[in-house]
C-alpha cells in the first residue's frame, strides 16, 4: 500500500512537471521548426528562424531595447527597494515582533523577505 501511494505521488509530480513545462518546451522545440507553422508534425531541427531573427535589424534593435529596459528598470527597482526597505529593517532580536505587527508581513513568505532586513 505504501509503495502504491509512493508511486502515485511520483506520478502526480511528473504530471505537474508535464503541465508546467509543456508550453515552454513546445515553444523551444518548435522554434527549430523548418516550415512556416510552429505546430506538429515537427519538421526540424532547423536554425532557419534563428537565422531570420538575427538577420533582421529591427529584431536586433528590439532585443537591444528589451535588454536596456530590463537592466535600467532592474537597477532602479533595486535602488528603490533598498532605500524603502532600509528603514523597515530591524535587528534580529525584534524581527519576529515586527513581522507579526507588519500588515504586509504575511503577504510574502518571511524567508523570501528576510534577507532584506535581517542583519546579524
Amino acid at each position: 500500500m505504501k509503495l502504491v501511494r509512493s508511486g502515485l505521488s511520483w506520478v502526480y509530480v511528473l504530471l505537474i512537471f508535464g503541465f508546467i513545462l509543456m508550453p515552454v518546451v513546445s515553444l523551444v522545440v518548435f522554434s527549430f521548426q523548418a516550415t512556416n507553422l510552429p505546430v506538429p508534425p515537427f519538421t526540424g531541427p532547423s536554425l532557419r528562424w534563428y537565422e531570420a531573427l538575427f538577420a533582421d535589424s529591427r529584431m536586433i534593435e528590439a532585443l537591444r531595447n528589451s535588454i536596456v529596459v530590463g537592466v535600467v528598470s532592474g537597477f532602479f527597482s533595486r535602488f528603490s527597494c533598498r532605500i524603502r526597505a532600509r528603514p523597515l529593517s530591524t535587528p534580529r532580536s525584534t524581527c519576529n515582533q515586527s513581522n507579526r505587527d507588519d500588515p504586509l508581513g504575511g503577504v510574502l513568505p518571511r524567508d523570501w523577505v528576510r534577507p532584506l532586513g535581517d542583519r546579524k
Partner: protein
C-alpha cells in the same frame, strides 16, 4: 538630543518617503482625480463629477466584463489551490530533503521566461492544429480537433499554469513549518493518517493556502496579457475593457474609474483574508 534624533530619523526615512510618494501615492492620486474627469467631444473635461462611476453602475457591458473577471479568477484560485496543495504536500513530506530544493527549482524555472512568451506558448499548445489536439487525434482519442484557444478555458488554464507555482511555494512554506512531532504524537495516540491530515496538517497549512489564493486573486484579476493573448476577445474581462477604453476610445477617465473598481475589489478581498495572510504558524 531628542531634536537631533528626530532629524536623524527623518533623514533615514526621507528617501523612502520620497520614493513612496513619487512612485506610489502621486500616481494613485492622479488615477483618483482622472476617474472624476469626463470624456467629452474627444477631449478630457476636467470638471469633477461622478459620471464615470454612474456609468460603471449602469453599463451592462462593464457589469458583464466584471462578472467574467470574477468568474475566471474564482476558477483560477480554486483549481490552482486544488492542484498545488497535493504537489506541495508531496514535495514537503514525500520527496527526500536533499531533492526538495531541486524539485522547487524545476517548478519555478519555466517562470523565468517572459509572461508574454508563456501566454503565446499556450496558444501554440491549445490551437486547433496545436500539440494537444494533434496528439489526441493521432492517438485516436478524438476524431476532430476541438476549440480550446481563445476561450475561457484557455484563459483559466494559462492562469492556473502560472499560479500553481505561486500557490505551491506558499503552501510548501506553510507545510514545512508544521512540526513533525505533532503528526507523530497523533499517530502514537491512535489517529489514522487521514485523521492526522484533516485535524493537524490541513488546519495548520491554511495560512499558506490563503496567502497563495490571495496572491493568485490579486495578480489574476488585474491581468491583461493572458486573457488578451490566450482568451482572445470573445469574452472580455475588466482589464481588457479597461485597455480598450485607453487604446481605442482614449477614455482615460473611465479607464481610471475601472482601475479603482479593481483596486477596491482587491482591498475588499484583502480585508476578508487579512487574518490569515501570514505564513507564520499561529501560536
Amino acid at each position: 538630543m531628542e531634536h537631533q534624533r528626530r532629524w536623524q530619523g527623518w533623514v533615514l526615512v526621507g528617501p523612502a518617503l520620497l520614493v513612496t510618494l513619487a512612485l506610489f501615492a502621486a500616481p494613485m492620486v492622479m488615477v483618483v482625480l482622472t476617474s472624476l474627469y469626463r470624456r467629452s467631444g474627444g477631449l478630457t473635461d476636467r470638471t469633477l463629477s461622478f459620471d464615470n462611476y454612474i456609468r460603471l453602475a449602469t453599463d451592462s457591458t462593464i457589469h458583464q466584463a466584471l462578472w467574467n473577471s470574477i468568474e475566471v479568477v474564482a476558477l483560477t484560485v480554486i483549481f490552482s489551490t486544488l492542484i498545488a496543495y497535493p504537489f506541495a504536500y508531496i514535495v514537503a513530506y514525500k520527496v527526500p530533503q536533499k531533492w526538495q530544493a531541486l524539485v522547487l527549482l524545476l517548478t519555478v524555472v519555466p517562470f523565468w521566461t517572459s509572461y508574454v512568451v508563456r501566454s503565446y506558448s499556450w496558444l501554440l499548445v491549445l490551437a486547433k492544429n496545436g500539440v494537444i489536439n494533434q496528439t489526441l487525434v493521432s492517438w485516436g482519442i478524438i476524431a476532430e480537433p476541438f476549440t480550446m484557444a481563445n476561450t475561457r478555458f484557455a484563459t483559466v488554464l494559462a492562469f492556473v499554469h502560472f499560479f500553481v507555482m505561486v500557490s505551491t511555494l506558499t503552501i510548501y512554506a506553510s507545510l514545512r513549518q508544521i512540526p513533525r512531532n505533532l503528526g507523530l504524537a497523533a499517530r502514537d495516540l491512535g489517529a489514522s493518517p487521514l485523521s492526522v491530515f484533516l485535524r493537524i496538517t490541513l488546519p495548520l497549512s491554511i495560512p499558506g493556502v490563503v496567502v497563495g489564493a490571495f496572491l493568485t486573486f490579486v495578480l489574476a484579476i488585474g491581468d491583461y496579457i493572458t486573457p488578451q493573448i490566450v482568451g482572445g476577445g470573445n469574452e472580455l474581462v475588466l482589464p481588457q475593457l479597461l485597455m480598450l477604453q485607453v487604446s481605442r476610445m482614449g477614455d482615460f477617465p473611465l479607464a481610471a474609474a475601472m482601475a479603482l473598481v479593481l483596486l477596491i475589489i482587491v482591498a475588499a478581498v484583502y480585508a476578508v483574508s487579512a487574518k490569515n495572510l501570514t505564513l507564520e504558524r499561529k501560536r
